[in-house]
């Protein structure tokens, strides 16, 4: 038999651990840990979502490079989150195109360079049409061709109606926040991301407990 005082101490310890774990754990809006998408970055390297991002928070936006207005703001916002954070740590930043037909790795590289983002930690991602379609469906990004026209040199130009999104995904591939991509003030994303980075110890601790 345990002495009452020892039992009380043990009970208190278990209670505190439970309370700590509950307060730290975030249920998330979605969980991407059970999916696997093979994408290609602007350098032609294969990047697997979410496997290659696990262990670090991820800020992910969705764009197509023939959109000069909304998508350029999504791109700049993702860049500004990194630039304006005091300590981004190992946070990863990705922009995924939903126009893989035109947005090849080479095009994405030129686009990234124009925004001075063709450098770590930024990745601009594409894939084959089927993969991108499945990926966008999984992350709830909606797209629909709007109108098209033929240019003088015979090329077909088309535009796309699309969701306006930036996602914040935690180190365990859980969706934590879903922002309006072009108009959300960057400081809001930074605040959420900093909380996520601070809570990393909590998450690691709770993960160890659950495992």
């Amino acid at each position: 038999m345990l002495p009452f005082q020892t039992f009380l101490k043990l009970f208190l310890l278990i209670f505190l651990v439970c309370a700590f774990t509950i307060s730290c754990s975030s249920p998330g809006l979605d969980d991407y840990s059970d999916v696997r998408f093979e994408l290609t970055n602007q350098n032609g390297e294969t990047v697997v979502f979410p496997d290659d991002f696990e262990g670090s928070p991820l800020v992910m936006g969705f764009i197509y490079t023939n959109c000069p207005d909304i998508c350029s703001f999504i791109t700049v916002n993702v860049g500004k989150v990194y630039e304006e954070m005091e300590n981004p740590g190992d946070t990863q930043f990705a922009l995924v195109t939903f126009d893989p037909e035109r947005d090849t790795p080479e095009v994405l590289k030129q686009y990234a360079a124009a925004f001075e983002m063709d450098k770590p930690p930024f990745q601009f991602l594409t894939a084959d049409t089927e993969t991108i379609s499945a990926f966008m469906e999984r992350v709830s990004v909606r797209t629909q061709e709007s109108y098209s026209r033929d240019s003088e040199d015979g090329d077909r130009m088309y535009f796309i109606n699309h969701s306006d999104k930036i996602l914040l995904i935690d180190q365990r591939s859980r969706l934590i926040f879903d922002y309006g991509g072009s108009m959300t003030p960057v400081n809001i994303i930074i605040e959420d991301l900093e909380k996520l980075l601070k809570n990393r110890f909590c998450s690691l601790f709770s993960c160890l407990l659950y495992c």
Binding site: D69, S72, V76, F115, N161
Partner: protein, 152 residues
């Protein structure tokens, strides 16, 4: 001189905070007559890609004016477009149908709304570059402005 205050609403949406949109006021002095274009700036863009130019169009005349043509030395095709919220969780872009400018008014081309769309860029546009854009109005005639490429 006629001075008006135009509330420029910076459409700031927040899905997590539910905060009120931030507002700022911008003071414009309308020209005595004709059209003046101010605060022009452009987005970065890759070669063969697209960009957008934003500005304020100040119509100081007593008559409505209409935009008849657009051109730029850096783009093969230039049109007036507008981004709009489709209301179904998607943003859309379309050619602006009636590019007219009311008498003694300010029309703002700004992100998420009306913009001059540059297509088929013949060179990459990066921060700090200056580009020309020519707007031809029915009454005010041809006006060429310089826009600085920015990533604010």
């Amino acid at each position: 001189m006629l001075t008006i205050l135009l509330p420029v609403i910076l459409l700031i949406s927040s899905c997590s905070g539910g905060e009120e949109p931030a507002q700022a006021e911008r003071e414009f002095t309308l020209p005595d007559d004709g059209i003046e274009l101010v605060d022009a700036w452009a987005r970065p863009g890759r070669e063969n890609g697209v960009s957008a130019v934003y500005m304020h169009v100040l119509n100081g005349s007593a008559d409505t004016d209409t935009l008849k043509a657009l051109s730029s030395s850096v783009a093969g095709l230039v049109e007036l477009h507008e981004t709009y919220d489709r209301g179904d969780d998607m943003m859309g872009m379309r050619e602006a149908e009636e590019p007219f400018f009311a008498p003694r008014s300010v029309t703002s081309m700004r992100p998420g709304g009306l913009h001059v769309m540059l297509m088929q860029l013949n060179r990459a546009l990066t921060e700090g570059d200056e580009i020309d854009v020519t707007l031809t109005f029915a009454r005010a005639g041809e006006i060429t402005i310089s826009a600085v490429v920015q990533s604010p």
